[in-house]
Structures are given as structure tokens and as C-alpha cells.
């Protein structure tokens, strides 16, 4: 039996990136791991998952899991956990991971460490690092070796495993009885936002804007830079509360927590609540008129200047670079 069970989240018939990040960390530990998939019509994604060096891929392929229901998914996952008896269950701290993992843990009498940015497993046991107090402090936590531990990893904070087509893990279909009529809560509608740019929490680069953008008519300038960088668009709370952009774009304490490779903050002053949402970005670039803005305290690179001059120039410069290849 594998030490680690990875909850392989899927979307549109594919493993999501955070699932591959869990695989990567498991591989770095040198421990055996299995990947469990929950859903319906899983044949293709099970085949994809079989190329990641897992001891086995466990598919709970059930029409009742076609749409998300925490009750049904938690029941299915807890059944697999009870059969496999892993020492550790890993999942990404995605919308699904945040909703599902604590419920499975509660059913399995386990404990959860949420949204970890550091994770080690050595002779002294399992230890995680988690941002707490909205990222104002980092907690190093020693996990209890006597309970089943569930760990969710902050998306983009770890490496990403690549598939190896020469490997093929056995795929085991595990039947789980789900009585649809007993489910009290289920998804009845899925609304996809049609954005021109990638999803914030998954993007490798983000271009974000603050109040200095002055009005919704100028958001396009930020979108243009984002498109050039294949980046997602983000915004500060002020921009969202002013109604200039939808709340799903908000980065920060009451918005999304992101950890991209590149975060470009355009006219964002860097309030502590905003820093809470983007402080773990790898490279932070700040563009701001005010040289004393707190964002420059966390930024790696910056320009003191007017975004209305600098951003279009930057877009142009990068577009030319990309054209040159």
C-alpha cells in the first residue's frame, strides 16, 4: 500500500495543475503514492494519470459523481481512504480541495493542514509551513504521527510533475455505492466565466491593478499587458469595491491568494491586506508614482512612474520581444 494518496482533481477531463504539483512533492519525498480520481467517464483522465509514476491509479467512476456534491465526493473519497490506509492524503488548496478535504478528514477522523507553502517529510516526521494571520506570520507545524494527515498545497508554490509516457501505472476501478436520493446538496448549475485571460490562482503570471487605474475604461490597458504576458488579470479590493471589475478578480485577504512566477502590480499601493494575497509570488514588479508606496518593500523590481505612460510602453516592448522570438 502506498504511503501517500493524492486526490487527483480533474477539470474538463484533465488533471489540474495542482494535482501534478502534489505528485511532484510526493516524488521528491521518494515515497510510494497512488492517485485517486473521482468523477464520471474517467477513462481518459485515468490514462493520463497512469503516466505519473503512481503505484496505482484508483478511479471511482460513477455517474453520480458527474456533478460536484461534497457529500457524494467525500463519501467516495473516505471509502477509498479507508481501503487504502495511507499515512498522508495530498490535494491542492483549490476551491474543490478547500471544500472537500476537510469533510473527508472529518469522516476519517484525520487532521488537515490547509494551504501549505512548505512541506517536508524526513526522519523527524511530517512538517508543514503555512502562512497564518493573513500571511503576516508563517507557522511551522509538526504533524501528529498518530493520526491520518491531510495536507493541501497552495497552488503554484511547488514544482510540477511531468508525465512520462513510458510509465503506465495499473488502473483500478473501485466501485462506491452512492445513493443519489440521499444527497441533500448538489450542484444544479455550473457558470463558467468567459475571460480573455487565464484563471488567477493557476496563472504563471499576473498583472494586477489598483485604484490608480482611475476607472473601468482603463482596465483594458492592464488586460493588454496581461495578454502579452499570457498572464491573468487581478485587482485590488479598491478596484473591486468601486465596481470597476468583478469580485472574482480580487487578490488579497478577502479575495484570492495567488503565488505566480511573476506578479506585476500597477498602481497598487501595497496595503497589508493586498500583500496577504500575493506575497508568495516569486518575482514582484511594482509600477507606482509614489516612491514611498509600501509595495516597493516587497517588490523585486520596480519603476517609479505613471502607469498610463509605463504600462503601454511595457506592453509594446514585450510584444516586440515575443515577435522577435
Amino acid at each position: 500500500m502506498a504511503d501517500i494518496l493524492i486526490l487527483g482533481e480533474t477539470r474538463d477531463g484533465k488533471l489540474v495543475k495542482s494535482a501534478r504539483e502534489c505528485v511532484c512533492r510526493a516524488q521528491e519525498f521518494g515515497k510510494a503514492y497512488s492517485i485517486v480520481l473521482l468523477g464520471s467517464n474517467l477513462a481518459n483522465v485515468a490514462n493520463e494519470a497512469s503516466h505519473f509514476g503512481a503505484e496505482k491509479v484508483i478511479a471511482v467512476d460513477n455517474p453520480s459523481l458527474g456533478a460536484y456534491s461534497c457529500e457524494a465526493f467525500a463519501h467516495a473519497a473516505a471509502t477509498v481512504v479507508a481501503q487504502e490506509r495511507p499515512k498522508l492524503v495530498l490535494c491542492g488548496a483549490t476551491a474543490l480541495g478547500r471544500d472537500l478535504v476537510p469533510r473527508i478528514a472529518a469522516k476519517s477522523k484525520g487532521e488537515v493542514s490547509t494551504d501549505c507553502t512548505g512541506f517536508d517529510w524526513d526522519a523527524s516526521g511530517l512538517r508543514v509551513t503555512r502562512p497564518v494571520y493573513a500571511g503576516k506570520l508563517y507557522a511551522l507545524v509538526a504533524l501528529d504521527p498518530n493520526v491520518l494527515n491531510f495536507v493541501t498545497l497552495r497552488p503554484n508554490a511547488f514544482g510540477t510533475a511531468q508525465p512520462d509516457p513510458s510509465k503506465a501505472s495499473p488502473i483500478s476501478n473501485v466501485p462506491v455505492d452512492i445513493q443519489m436520493n440521499l444527497l441533500r446538496c448538489k450542484v444544479v448549475e455550473l457558470r463558467r466565466e468567459h475571460k480573455e485571460t487565464p484563471e488567477l490562482t493557476e496563472a504563471e503570471s499576473i498583472v494586477s491593478c489598483g485604484r490608480g487605474i482611475k476607472g473601468p475604461e482603463h482596465i483594458k490597458m492592464v488586460v493588454d499587458l496581461a495578454k502579452t504576458l499570457n498572464a491573468a488579470v487581478g485587482a485590488s479590493r479598491a478596484v473591486v469595491d468601486a465596481g470597476w471589475i468583478a469580485q472574482s478578480y480580487q487578490v488579497g485577504q478577502t479575495g484570492k491568494v495567488v503565488s505566480p512566477k511573476l506578479y506585476v502590480a500597477c498602481s497598487i499601493s501595497g496595503a497589508i491586506q493586498h500583500l496577504a494575497g500575493m506575497r508568495t509570488s516569486k518575482v514582484i514588479v511594482a509600477i507606482n508614482k509614489d516612491p514611498a508606496a509600501p509595495i516597493f518593500k516587497v517588490a523585486d523590481y520596480g519603476i517609479v512612474g505613471d502607469i498610463f505612460q509605463v504600462v503601454p510602453l511595457l506592453t509594446d516592448r514585450i510584444r516586440k520581444l515575443k515577435q522577435e522570438g
Binding site: P102, A106, E111, V112, K136, V187
Partner: protein, 260 residues
């Protein structure tokens, strides 16, 4: 009449500077301003709006924590909650999530309710688990990261909208249900002076761990609390013109940061 329970946690204010004590494992609370955790405040606002929309109802705020929480509970009552339950003990300062959910379950098992609302996470430990463990204790469904709650007038079902990557899920559920809200569309109201006065006479039921038959919280597993890793000093891209600054920035990003 709808009965709504709102679970509140009181945490260092979002603007507060939080420092570890010399033990390196707990935070210095002296002089620290505590407020309702922001998502719990959104939950309370949704509860108040739901009660208004349904024309009548009762909102009970519940908190588990140290004695100073009373002040915050009065704020919740001044915002419009009708009553409060306060599980009070100085030992609850460092209660973990699994323990807190157990205490809440002990309280709630004796209460009548149609729906339980709370924030998706408290912004102190940011662990985002209490609603789910509580749901398991009470054998109820739970939906987290909720942005919108619509309770049917017959109090038999509810529709909640949950934020996910790249969109939203609409969940249909029977009641009772536990709803863990994220940021919603409604900014929490500020208490008015007359309501602050009224809140002084609203009932707060104080309970002890002993009355609930609960043992004190287990010790925390935190080994250390440290400030975030320091970032390097910023390198400003200089130049006499915006064009020159942009050229220098791109050069730094390519050659030093190895981006694009």
C-alpha cells in the same frame, strides 16, 4: 420564522501588526485590537439580509473564546443579531479547529435552527475547516466559499452560489445547511448609535466548558511563528524617460530574473 445561527470568531484586526511572543509559538495579544473575522462579518450581514427578506426570524451569534470576546459579541448584537451564546474560557485562546468544531457542535445540538452561517475561514489560523468538521458532527451538508445565499420562503430549501476557479457553482440544498461564506456582494453594515444602545440589553448566554462536558483544548502543534521570509531590496529601473525606464526593467527581468 427563520432561525439562523452565525458562528463568529474574533481575530486580530486586519490592519493590526501581529508579533510572536518570546516563546515563538503564540502571538502577543497585549494591546492588540480584536475584531470579528472579516468572512464571519460577511456571514452575519448575509444572515441579517436573509432575515429581512423573510420578514421575520431570529439570529443567534455563537462564539467560542476568551473573555475579551464579549465586547465583539456586543458589536454583533448592535449590527442586528438578536441573541448570543458565548462559550467563555481563557483556555480557549489557542483552541485548534477540530476542537472548536467539537465545542460548537456541543452547543448547537441543543439549539433550534434552519441554517448555520459562518466565514469560510478565520483570518488568524486561516485553517478553513471548522464548518466542515461541524457539518460532520451534525450530519449536515456544507458548502464553502459561498458568495450568495437564497433561502426559500417555506424554509425547506436554499440555493447558494459558490466561487470556483473560472466561474461559479450553484448548489441546491435542503435545510438545515451549513454555509461558509467568502466575500459576498454585501458590505457588512456599521452599527448605528441607537442599535449600540439596544444591544446592551440583548441576551448573551454564557456557557463553560464544564457545562458542555468538554475537556480543555489540546496543546497547539505549532513549533514556531516567524515573520515571512524577507524579500530582497527592490531594484528600481532608472532612466531619464519612461521609455528608458521600461527598457531597463525589461533588461532586468530578462537577464536577472530570467523571465521571457
Amino acid at each position: 420564522m427563520v432561525e439562523i445561527l452565525v458562528c463568529l470568531k474574533f481575530v486580530p484586526d486586519t490592519t493590526a501588526i501581529v508579533r510572536p511572543r518570546p516563546d515563538g509559538k503564540t502571538i502577543e495579544t497585549a494591546g492588540l485590537k480584536f475584531s470579528i473575522s472579516p468572512y464571519d462579518e460577511f456571514a452575519l450581514e448575509e444572515a441579517l439580509l436573509a432575515r429581512d427578506a423573510l420578514r421575520s426570524g431570529k439570529i443567534t451569534a455563537i462564539t467560542v473564546g476568551p473573555p475579551r470576546n464579549e465586547e465583539g459579541l456586543r458589536t454583533a448584537l448592535a449590527m442586528g443579531a438578536d441573541a448570543a451564546v458565548f462559550v467563555k474560557d481563557p483556555l480557549l485562546e489557542q483552541a485548534g479547529t477540530v476542537y472548536e468544531a467539537d465545542i460548537l457542535a456541543r452547543v448547537i445540538k441543543n439549539l433550534k435552527f434552519d441554517i448555520i452561517m459562518m466565514g469560510k475561514q478565520a483570518i488568524d489560523d486561516d485553517s478553513a475547516q471548522v464548518p466542515h468538521y461541524l457539518a460532520e458532527h451534525l450530519n449536515l451538508p456544507c458548502v464553502s466559499m459561498v458568495r450568495k445565499v437564497e433561502i426559500a420562503p417555506d424554509l425547506k430549501s436554499t440555493k447558494v452560489t459558490r466561487q470556483i476557479e473560472g466561474g461559479e457553482e450553484v448548489h441546491q440544498s435542503t435545510l438545515p445547511l451549513i454555509v461558509a461564506v467568502g466575500k459576498t456582494e454585501h458590505m457588512p453594515r456599521l452599527p448605528t448609535l441607537p442599535n449600540i444602545m439596544k444591544a446592551k440589553t440583548k441576551p448573551i448566554t454564557v456557557m463553560t466548558l464544564q457545562q458542555l462536558g468538554a475537556s480543555p483544548p489540546p496543546p497547539s502543534k505549532i513549533m514556531s511563528l516567524t515573520p515571512p521570509p524577507a524579500r530582497k531590496n527592490v531594484k528600481l529601473a532608472d532612466g531619464d524617460t519612461p521609455e528608458a525606464k521600461v527598457d531597463n526593467l525589461v533588461k532586468l527581468l530578462r537577464e536577472e530574473a530570467k523571465l521571457f
